[in-house]
């Protein structure tokens, strides 16, 4: 018997007034699957996130979260299964401390206090934010606030994470924390749908690329394939990230797109190339 998908969009359409945002979009994510939602600005990516969170209702079609039709569940009920991080997440904090803010979600789910504490502590630890737990959010750089908002999302311990640009403005070290935390969640069966323009990050954390173009799903392929195919990327506003471009330019065996893989291949190949 096939597993129920963690998320399924079935011919979903949506319009903002007269402006069509999505047209008959269908795809499904299995538990533990790690997908990037890619496409140019205005392609409809954030609209998909809002539909899954229940903040918008499809004009046509159905969004399934597990076996729930999102049309029949309000956002606060969906929050038991869907953890969302929105685009300007750094501005959505309101607790007096980071820890307070991270507790807000699990508390709102009605969990008992010890469970709220456990989840908040685990989420802060997953992003190495525990040393900042007592800080006031607005004393921190916006990028750290964004990371704190992600901790709040992780603390819901949902079966599906829908994240809109989680790494914008983050430096290499903070981005590595996000990668680590997301891989850990996926390894215990959480499905990931991550809207991102940061293809370097996508290569490290995600495995499947869903491409939206003007509100339609125009591509669905393994990222390792997609990222080394400039001809498939550029028409939808994307470019190969530097490591993928390097792998292609140097014809590295296996065309690695992740930094650790590229490092290994490069070290091996350079061995027989004294010029490098």
């Amino acid at each position: 018997m096939a597993l129920t998908p963690a998320l399924a969009l079935d011919r979903v359409s949506f319009a903002y007034g007269p402006i069509a945002a999505l047209t008959e979009v269908s795809f499904a994510l299995a538990p533990g699957e790690r997908a990037a939602l890619l496409g140019r600005n205005g392609a409809g990516k954030s609209t998909v996130a809002r539909l899954i969170a229940g903040l918008l209702r499809p004009a046509a079609g159905t969004v399934w979260v597990g076996d729930w039709d999102t049309g029949h569940h309000p956002p606060e009920a969906l929050a038991h299964r869907v953890g969302s991080l929105f685009q300007h997440a750094d501005q959505q904090l309101f607790g007096r401390t980071l820890a307070d803010d991270v507790r807000f979600g699990p508390r709102a789910l009605g969990l008992p206090p010890p469970e709220v504490e456990r989840r908040a502590a685990a989420a802060l630890a997953a992003l190495d934010l525990d040393p900042l737990a007592g800080e006031h959010p607005y004393d921190l750089a916006p990028a750290l606030r964004k990371l704190a908002a992600l901790a709040g999302t992780l603390a819901l311990e949902p079966s599906l994470l829908v994240l809109d640009e989680p790494t914008a403005g983050l430096d290499r070290e903070l981005r590595a924390r996000v990668v680590r935390a997301l891989l850990a969640r996926a390894s215990v069966g959480v499905a990931l749908l991550v809207i991102t323009h940061d293809l370097t990050f996508a290569a490290e954390a995600l495995e499947r690329g869903l491409v939206l173009d003007a509100g339609r799903l125009s591509g669905d392929a393994p990222l390792a394939e997609l990222l080394v195919a400039p001809s498939r990327l550029e028409p939808v506003g994307l470019l190969p990230p530097p490591i993928a471009a390097l792998a292609t330019a140097l014809a590295l065996p296996g065309r690695p797109v992740r930094e650790a893989d590229a490092r290994r291949v490069l070290a091996r190949v350079a061995h027989v190339r004294p010029s490098a």
Binding site: S46, G169, D171, T200, I243
Partner: protein, 259 residues
């Protein structure tokens, strides 16, 4: 000749003892793009606020040192477009015209600058849209257009490509180059080290509010910046593979080395 210089600037936000910036000196001249890089919290945004004369004039706090400007107006594009949105305009056109209108320009001059800015950012088709309904990346372009429409001699940008798709980001870097080529001075805080290595003329590396290094774009491929996590992707992987210095900063440089 356009020139903006920070001379031994230290800056404290209100009610703080630790300076956000400490003894920072840097300059950007007409015709060049200078990239400000650093880890999160290193002070790049504070440098831009000081350079824009918003800190301490608007933020409060305390400044030591001097900011010298010659050659004309300066304009700052904030990292978060939602923060910069005037909230006073119901169309993208009016939003972009907000700055020029406040400069008291005659109507045709406003129109001319707004049209040119919309075209240069590739958002002319959005002119009648409500800025509250455009996408995040589109709004980032609207904000940049609004600053550009004021014809600044010094352009200060905080993460101008953070919300943009990669092709859109490449276009914005090309636009910044074109603006520098017109004689403007461009100072950009960016976490996109790969783009900075390809587009900037010079790089200033900030660490805990101080200038830790400054130099040509090759700075983003040297041992110290790579060790600090501020090397480009290519330089970092080159270094991690144990290959020899100097590390290539970009794919093009790597390819040249490989042949």
């Amino acid at each position: 000749m356009t020139r903006l210089a920070l001379e031994r600037v230290s800056f404290w936000y209100p009610a703080t003892d630790l300076p956000a910036l400490e003894d920072v000196s840097l300059e950007v001249g007409g015709g060049e793009i200078v990239a400000l890089v650093g880890r999160v919290g290193a002070g790049a945004s504070s440098v831009l606020l000081v350079a824009a004369d918003l800190a301490p004039r608007v933020t409060g706090g305390r400044l030591r040192g001097r900011v010298a400007l010659t050659g004309g107006r300066r304009g700052l594009v904030l990292a978060s477009p939602w923060t910069q949105l005037s909230g006073m305009a119901f169309t993208v056109w009016d939003e972009v015209a907000f700055g020029p209108a406040n400069l008291g320009w005659p109507r045709d001059e406003i129109t001319q600058h707004v049209e040119r800015a919309l075209t240069r950012l590739g958002i002319a088709a959005l002119r009648a849209r409500d800025p509250a309904t455009v996408s995040g990346g589109e709004l980032a372009r609207v904000m940049l257009a609004g600053i550009l429409a004021m014809d600044p001699a010094v352009l200060l940008c905080d993460e101008p490509t953070g919300a943009l798709d990669p092709v859109g980001a490449r276009e914005v870097w090309r636009l910044l180059r074109a603006l520098a080529d017109e004689g403007r001075a461009v100072l950009v805080a960016t976490s996109d080290l790969d783009a900075a290595a390809a587009a900037a003329d010079r790089v200033v590396w900030l660490e805990r509010g101080r200038v830790a290094g400054a130099g040509p774009r090759a700075l983003l491929a040297d041992e110290a910046t790579c060790a600090a996590g501020l090397g480009t992707s290519v330089a970092s992987v080159w270094r991690a593979a144990g290959l020899a210095l100097p590390y290539p900063a970009t794919v093009a440089e790597a390819l040249a080395r490989w042949r």
